[in-house]
């Protein structure tokens, strides 16, 4: 190898190192699939790690073999001799048939073990959550607790959670990368996912099966909190908000009932009882609106209500062509629903 080639090699290595470092800077912390926070996620991570290192080993071996062959047997200037005409070698063939088969056994065994482990039924004391995917948001129900909310799932740390998945229209997929793998949300069948979160935090989730125009914006949040905070959240969600007394909020509540919102949304303690769109009983308690798309601020909320399709293309919520003062009182009212 000439000095020049050494330099090229050094440069390549340097470039690789820079890229790798840059890679560390470019990691998503809220959605990493290899930084799990649940038993389900760790089970997957365990298999993945084993397979990953097998693959790295095979990759290095095969590519090295290829490069060695190319560099060693590259034609030299003026060389014209005919190489030995080798047609094959039976023992070699047997060897490189058996070798990958054996490696695959090492991959298949933990794989199949994990398939059955993560399919195990939930323990009896698991918190049951029913998630229903719909173009392009999520209903969230806690059948045992009598809670219905949307786009924000709360779970306690250290206790098993069983998520049942339903679809109201087309196929979606429920995926919170840091919790573990995704499951399709199928019309006509119920898929389940069981996990116990071991670290409190806010974890982002997103629909992972293409489901139409605004598939990219069908997001949600999963909040894992200590049991005491979770219980507080449950109590808050179970409470029925009292009818507003402030005149502005009162106008807002009337607007909600008369402008058309009532056709799709529910606010407990009010005549609005439809369950087509997200439940708004405690909408102000949620960190984000429009299925994890926007921070829950009055400005964002009025942007959304004034022209839903401008925020989310083809959104099913109709543009009710409300006047700005109507939007203002509506937002004030909704922001009071803590």
């Amino acid at each position: 190898m000439s000095i020049r080639r050494h330099r090229v090699l050094a440069l390549c290595l340097l470039a690789g190192a820079v890229a790798a470092l840059a890679g560390c800077e470019m990691v998503s912390h809220t959605r990493s699939t290899i930084n799990p926070v649940s038993d389900f996620g760790w089970a997957i991570q365990n298999v993945y790690k084993q397979i990953f290192w097998w693959c790295v080993g095979i990759f290095v071996f095969v590519e090295a073999l290829l490069l060695i062959a190319i560099f060693r047997f590259r034609v030299r200037e003026g060389s014209h001799e005919t190489p030995e005409q080798v047609h094959g070698h039976t023992n070699l063939e047997i060897a490189w048939t058996i070798l990958p088969a054996v490696i695959l056994v090492f991959i298949a065994v933990p794989t199949i073990r994990t398939i059955f482990a993560v399919a195990a039924p939930a323990p009896a004391d698991a918190i049951r959550v029913t998630v229903t995917g719909q173009q392009w948001f999520w209903h969230v129900d806690y059948p045992d607790l009598g809670i219905r909310t949307a786009n924000e799932i709360h779970v306690p740390v250290g206790r098993a959670v069983e998520v049942s998945l339903h679809a109201a229209d087309v196929i979606h997929a429920f995926w919170v990368p840091r919790l573990g793998g995704k499951r399709d949300v199928m019309p006509g069948r119920t898929n389940r996912q069981v996990f116990t979160v071991d670290k409190p935090g806010l974890y982002h989730g997103q629909c992972a099966e293409f489901c139409g125009t605004s598939h990219a914006l069908m997001r949600f949040d999963l909040v894992a909190e200590d049991p005491a905070s979770f219980d507080r959240w449950v109590a808050e969600q179970k409470s029925v908000p009292a009818p507003p007394t402030d005149p502005k909020l009162k106008t807002g509540a009337t607007t909600f009932l008369t402008a058309g919102c009532i056709a799709c949304h529910r606010i407990q303690g009010s005549p609005a009882q439809a369950q087509i769109g997200p439940d708004l009983t405690h909408v102000a308690s949620r960190a984000r609106i429009v299925s994890g798309m926007l921070e829950n601020t009055p400005e964002n909320m009025s942007r959304w209500i004034s022209d839903p399709q401008a925020v989310k293309t083809d959104a099913r919520m109709p543009n009710l062509k409300l006047k700005s003062d109507q939007v203002e009182v509506l937002v004030a009212y909704l922001q009071s629903l803590r």
Partner: protein, 609 residues
């Protein structure tokens, strides 16, 4: 049309001039060129779609295209690259090279061959005309029910998808049967199955995959059409149907389709590596058998596309195991290719670089494939950018690189001129770097939880950097393709003359002039080994004398050349009218059927056959 070789040049000149001669041609070489040129145009269209996609994703909250347009772009990019680029470029090589490699004067059914091409063209236009009426398919190339139902896709977008694929399926089926018969029946004397070049073998396997896999998607599409047009409920839960039925049918076709896309490249590489290593293919019977095994196992793995649908642990375990098994024959191939170049005299021509690049890149795609063969891992990787990285290493790093190897290898045979090697190498290195810069970061994006098929993301998601890198890479690929276009036209006009055998090849196509005469072989060759031309070139003087004597003893041969026919294109037009009828009214359907029947009748009674 019967004549001898001496009388043919004049006839060739008369029948081979002008646009009409191309429209009526039944010559496999010309049909091959038509396939290749058409597919290359679609390669540019599909590439442009990819560049728009990458531009949209370069920065968070990109505003280059609207969400609906983006969804149409990724749908059409996949459909175009799969059905209108990789398959027909493969078909171009089958058409041009198979008769030459098996020592035949044409394919078994030359007019059917012309019909395959025209029907392919109709299907390709059908899919793309959707852009002109503003309703391109936008439900993903996998078109999962019930998103494809009338309720969720009320426009004609899904109808263009259905009929486009049906028409392309008809074309592929006809070509499939044609090549099975050609390969089994038209081989030169002495060319036993095990003496066939590996490219011919892989073509045979592919054609069996085509004729077995396409009927499945045909049925699936008919169900979908019935749901949309006649109110049936094959895929609709409300009425007892099942959207999973579509997924089973689609992937039962879709997975063999993956091998339909990769096996041509594997066949090409198995020709290019030996030629430029100056050695025979190592373990040829094992390479052939593993190709057959890959094709066979390809029908038993479809549910690995459905691990997330919740088929249950037993099904997941079974399909995971069969999927992993495919890694074995694939590994056997890769080791045999490396053993082929081992100890050889390696000439690093552009074709060879592409063949070696194919191995290097396909290994990466193969290994990421092993990762998501494991259902638990797949639950994380499925529908994430990790899988986007995987399929592009297989289909770009694999198929497209293999097809470029074939292009640089056989262009001289087809045109009589060599593609420029300097430009070729520049193109290769730029493309190799470009494809790694584009697709390798997608592994990281997938691991960081970025889902596929999203038209936008936010700056806070942590995906900005690698998306920008991938977009820069995609433009490098774009530049490499521009270099190829320049090289192509320059070499066509002023490339170095190739002569009959520019690469010191071993197979029959190199024994005849470049470009080959219309009748290919003045005398059909007599084959005695898997490297017939090598045997002639590297024979001892005594063997040579004996061959020449045997050659002299054979008299002039009677040559039959099928005459041109315009009925194939008329029949294809009839099909176009029939399928267009679904957009207008039943009378148009009937008119289409009548044209098809009339053309078939005229075809059958065409004089001269």
């Amino acid at each position: 049309m019967s004549t001898t070789a001496a009388a043919l040049p004049k006839l060739q000149e008369e029948a081979y001039r002008g646009a009409w001669s191309w429209i009526t041609t039944v010559d496999h070489k010309r049909i091959g060129i038509l396939y290749g040129m058409t597919a290359f145009c679609f390669f540019l269209i599909g590439g442009l779609e990819a560049l728009i996609i990458r531009t949209q994703l370069a920065v968070p909250e990109g505003t280059v295209v609207a969400p609906g347009t983006y969804n149409a772009l990724f749908t059409m990019h996949a459909l175009t690259m799969i059905f209108l680029v990789i398959m027909p470029i493969g078909a171009a090589f089958f058409n041009y090279m198979i008769p030459l490699m098996v020592g035949a004067r044409d394919v078994a059914f030359p007019r059917l061959n012309a019909l395959s091409y025209w029907v392919f063209l109709v299907g390709a236009l059908f899919l793309n005309v959707s852009f002109l009426v503003g309703q391109p398919p936008d439900v993903g190339w996998f078109a999962y029910a019930p998103l494809t139902s009338k309720a969720f896709s009320p426009t004609h977008a899904v109808d263009f998808y259905i009929f486009g694929l049906q028409i392309l399926g008809i074309s592929s089926m006809m070509a499939g049967f044609n090549f099975i018969v050609t390969i089994l029946n038209m081989r030169a004397p002495g060319m036993t199955l095990m003496r066939m070049p590996v490219f011919v073998w892989m073509t045979l396997v592919i054609q069996f995959l085509v004729v077995l896999a396409f009927p499945i998607i045909t049925v699936g599409l008919i169900f979908l059409q019935f749901d949309r047009f006649f109110g049936t409920h094959f895929y609709l839960v409300e009425a007892g149907g099942d959207p999973l039925l579509w997924q089973h049918l689609f992937w039962l076709f879709g997975h063999p389709e993956v091998y339909i896309l990769i096996l041509p490249a594997m066949g090409i590489v198995s020709e290019v590596l030996p030629t430029f290593s100056h050695k025979p293919l190592f373990g040829a019977p094992f390479v052939i058998f593993s190709g057959i095994l890959i094709g066979f196992l390809g029908f038993g793995v479809w549910s690995h596309h459905m691990f997330t649908t919740g088929l249950g642990p037993v099904a997941d375990a079974a399909f995971s195991t069969t999927t992993m098994m495919i890694a074995v024959p694939t590994a056997v191939k890769i080791f045999n290719w490396i053993a082929t170049i081992w100890g050889g005299r390696i000439r690093l021509t552009t074709a060879m670089l592409y063949a070696l690049g194919f191995i290097a890149m396909f290994v990466i795609g193969g290994l990421s494939g092993v990762m998501h063969a494991s259902p638990p891992v797949d639950l994380q990787q499925q529908d994430s950018y990790f899988v986007v990285a995987h399929i592009h290493y297989v289909l770009f790093g694999g198929s497209i690189m293999g097809l470029f190897a074939g292009t640089f290898y056989w262009f001289p045979k087809m045109t009589g001129r060599l593609l420029d090697e300097k430009l070729g190498k520049l193109q290769f290195w730029l493309q190799l770097i470009g494809l790694n810069v584009t697709f390798f970061p997608m592994h990281f994006l997938g691991v960081d939880g970025m889902p596929r098929r999203i038209y936008t993301y936010y700056g806070t998601d942590g995906w900005n950097g690698w998306n920008m890198v991938a977009t820069i890479g995609s433009y490098l690929i774009g530049v490499s393709v521009l270099i190829f276009i320049h090289n192509f036209f320059r070499s066509l006009r002023a490339g170095k003359p190739a002569g009959a055998d520019p690469w010191d090849g071993a197979t029959l196509e190199w024994t005849i002039p470049s470009p080959p005469p219309v009748y290919n072989f003045a005398r059909l060759p007599n084959v005695t080994s898997s490297r017939p031309f090598w045997d002639v070139k590297y024979a001892s003087p005594a063997q040579k004398a004996q061959m020449e004597k045997a050659e002299r003893e054979r008299g002039a041969e009677h040559i039959h050349i099928p005459p041109p026919s315009y009925w194939p294109i008329v029949l294809a037009m009839g099909m176009a009218v029939f399928f267009a009828g679904w957009f207008f009214n039943p009378f148009v359907n009937v008119a289409g059927v009548l044209i098809v029947l009339a053309a078939t009748f005229a075809w059958v009674y065409e004089p001269g056959h």
